[in-house]
């Protein structure tokens, strides 16, 4: 299944791209598993996701905890804590 992964703020800068399409490999069912998979894709990903407990995520534009199942979501977003307002 192909999903679009989006990155924002310093996470985007560290990964070096705003978004990418990816076929989720077998065994990647939750966002935590996806992060582990991404961290093996290169130093920039490993650095971007190294700050444990800080990264937030959304599935199809809704906030979800990192242990959430990806299920049939088409758009996954990772970002730091929000600082709007």
């Amino acid at each position: 299944m192909s999903v679009t992964i989006k990155y924002f703020a310093w996470l985007r800068e560290r990964v070096g791209k705003a978004e990418e399409d990816m076929i989720l490999p077998a065994g990647v069912n939750t966002l935590t598993e996806l992060i582990a998979h991404l961290r093996r894709q290169g130093e920039e990903y490993d650095h971007a996701f190294a700050t444990d407990g800080v990264i937030r995520a959304a599935l199809d534009k809704r906030h979800v905890p990192l242990d959430a199942a990806i299920g049939g979501a088409r758009e996954i977003a990772f970002f730091p804590p929000m600082t709007g307002g």
């Binding site: 977003a77 600082t83 709007g84």
Partner: protein, 149 residues
């Protein structure tokens, strides 16, 4: 009910007028405006850039607005959040709540701002006078402010 995520400025008086036009059931309007400061943590700030996940921001602000309407009797509400690059003194965010009485309008506006700060997907980067840019860190007190609701 209106939510807007935009680069351009907003006109507070015009936004209030559009909420109250032709109505006599509104007895209280509370507005909150967030403005770009020229100093932060003792540093001079020359510019502030707000990044957003625009489609989610619109969806999330709409959900927050619905949540506020389920908690307080509101006759109307407006949330406008800007993104892009701003200078000190520029408007960033506007929340307007209209109700029959002031208590609901005050509380709903406060709730919307507290929730917006921790849930709406916006990220601020400050540019200092020397050109140095840094991402602003989220504040624990903002989480605490949202938790009280």
């Amino acid at each position: 009910m209106a939510v807007s995520v935009q680069t351009g400025d907003f006109d507070i008086a015009a936004e209030i007028a559009s909420l109250t036009a032709g109505r006599t059931d509104i007895g209280a309007i509370v507005t909150f405006t967030g403005i770009c400061r020229g100093q932060d943590d003792g540093r001079d700030v020359v510019a502030l850039t707000l990044e957003t996940y625009e489609e989610m921001a619109v969806a999330e602000l709409s959900r927050l607005e619905e949540d506020a309407r389920s908690r307080w009797p509101l006759q109307g509400s407006t949330i406008i959040h800007r993104h892009g690059t701003m200078q000190p003194g520029d408007n960033i965010v506007l929340v307007i709540c209209a109700s029959s009485h002031r208590q609901a309008a005050f509380e709903a506006a406060s709730f919307l701002m507290d929730y917006l700060k921790t849930r709406a997907p916006f990220w601020k980067a400050e540019e200092a006078a020397g050109g140095e840019k840094r991402w602003i860190a989220a504040k624990a007190e903002d989480d605490e402010a949202a938790d009280r609701w």
